[in-house]
Symmetry: C2
């Protein structure tokens, strides 16, 4: 059966060629003007209303009017705007499965978190370009300031594919690993703690790694109270979403020494505006929401879609079926 | 039997207390003026000539005059000044074993190498503090410039305890690992190549990690010919010794694009002087010989010595017995 696949984001020529080849037998439809950003609200395009499949970031209102829609595949890992009780209920009612592209980005996100942890442990920001003589006090201080991850306690806040992969990467470092999850599912590879144990766990964790998605229940999850529960001198990492952190509280915790350092790939907003207080803190390291990025990511995203297209057309369960 | 242990380097009070406690029953002797640097030639101190054990960096000429010397424990991993055929022959003749402190620093060195590889893969120098909007071309370029270690080929040049540990740390990254060793010993955990295969291996390696010690046979091991054998766009790391790299040839390889980047913890000399050509290259990242450094390293060094003291006094084989 030939299906009409609506693709609402720009693809480089190589990825487009791969999509056309992989989806041959189906009809690919593109809006006259693709979305400028994966997160911008797209202009509804008339051709969308005849689509069987949406691949990209389809508009919620347009989805309602697309009567023949059978499956939605989001081209990002984040699904914030779709993740509402109303939308979930409506998709269930219309029997439209929604999958995302988490598989494409999980491994790179875990790599990014590890790069933060290693750079922190080995003090790369301080050490790169440091040229003091190797018998100076400054040199001894730097040299002996590197705290090995071995034996330290790392608490992952949120545990899904990224957390699982990060735990694999950290295994040879012999840390004490645990993860916070609202509900343990039994498929975790490291010990899991739930809400009532969180305060006690934060109080002993040397490294707190926030991998939470954005949702009403995670907004400002790390607020002044949570930071006050953290071990003095611990390190906070955020590779989830900027909205999960109260940035004023983070600033206070970094200034008071409650936290030794923060390593953030996400902020609210992105990028932070000129003069934002976090930008002037010497112990706050920020990368611009690139944790999932990697060479060939668009091709990877297309391959992931094609894998799911094959599954969808053969009645198999979808990878990263999220709604 | 009470032994006279000569300690020729400065110990912070906590480490000194631990040494005194652990070596109780023996006599600790300190020079009136400890060496300023672990690598500086120490003033011979008269008390050295009565020592049974030397712990630190004893002077070669003074060793010759220390008639009762029974064991030398070097407080560093590098043993360049002792590693000569003449000294080895003389120690064999006098039946004086020499051990070093490699165990103290191996793990931190492997961590440092991994921190370089992760920072390189995730482009941390470019990404930290980069604030372009996340729909800009610059942002896409950065985001898609991160090349995962997965599937890439890493060639370790030199394989000992550091290489073995680095291979453990890299295992979950699913790279293609191999090591160059002058003579395979059969105890390696990854495939080993020898001299005649080196050129072909360099030609396909994405990451070349130099862990060679300093010795007459390793000086300028990486010269213009070796860099010419490297895969175009590969990354060179040095956590061994600065003398193993012809820095003019390295500069040329970084300028021509033969090498994408260099990450060096060691240079010749250290630090590089103002105006040295490597300092102005944007693709040359240098830390100041801190790879083995870690919090508590002096205490760790004392513990390691005490372990060997126990072995020595009980006639057991020494850890890190190098000469």
């Amino acid at each position: 059966m030939s299906l009409k696949i609506y693709v609402d984001f720009s693809l480089p020529s190589e990825a487009l060629a791969r999509l056309k080849e992989g989806a041959s037998g189906h009809e690919l439809v593109f809006p006259s003007k693709p979305a400028a950003s994966v997160l911008a609200k797209t202009e509804p395009d008339p051709s969308f209303y005849q689509a069987d499949i949406a691949f990209g970031q389809p508009d919620i209102d347009a989805i309602e009017k697309a009567a023949s829609l059978k499956w939605i595949h989001i081209n990002t890992s984040g699904i914030t705007r779709y993740d509402t009780p109303e939308f979930r209920a409506r998709m269930a009612e219309r029997q439209i499965p929604v999958s995302n592209s988490a598989s494409v980005y999980n491994s790179a996100c875990a790599d990014h978190a590890l790069s933060f942890m290693m750079a922190q442990s080995r003090q790369l920001p301080q050490a790169l370009g440091f040229r003091a003589s190797n018998v100076s006090d400054d040199w001894f201080r730097l040299r002996r300031g590197s705290v090995s991850l071995k034996g330290q306690k790392a608490l992952l806040i949120g545990y899904g594919a990224i957390g699982k992969r990060l735990a694999e990467l950290l295994a040879p470092h012999h840390m004490q690993l645990s993860a916070y999850r609202r509900q343990a599912r039994g498929d975790e590879t490291i010990p899991v703690i739930t809400e009532d144990e969180l305060g006690a766990s934060l109080a002993t964790a040397d490294h707190v790694i926030n991998i939470l998605p954005d949702s009403p229940s995670t907004r400002n999850f790390f607020d002044a109270n949570r930071f006050a529960q953290c071990k003095t001198g611990s390190v906070y990492y955020n590779i989830g979403r900027g909205t999960t952190t109260d940035q004023d509280a983070l600033h206070a915790a970094l200034t008071s020494g409650q936290l030794k350092e923060a390593w953030l790939d996400v902020t609210e907003p992105e990028p932070l505006p000129d003069g934002h207080p976090l930008l002037s803190l010497p112990n706050c390291y920020i990368t611009p929401h690139i944790a999932g990025g990697h060479f060939g990511e668009v091709m990877h995203c297309v391959e992931n879609f094609l894998e799911n297209l094959d599954r969808f057309t053969n009645g198999k369960s979808l990878v990263d079926h999220v709604i």
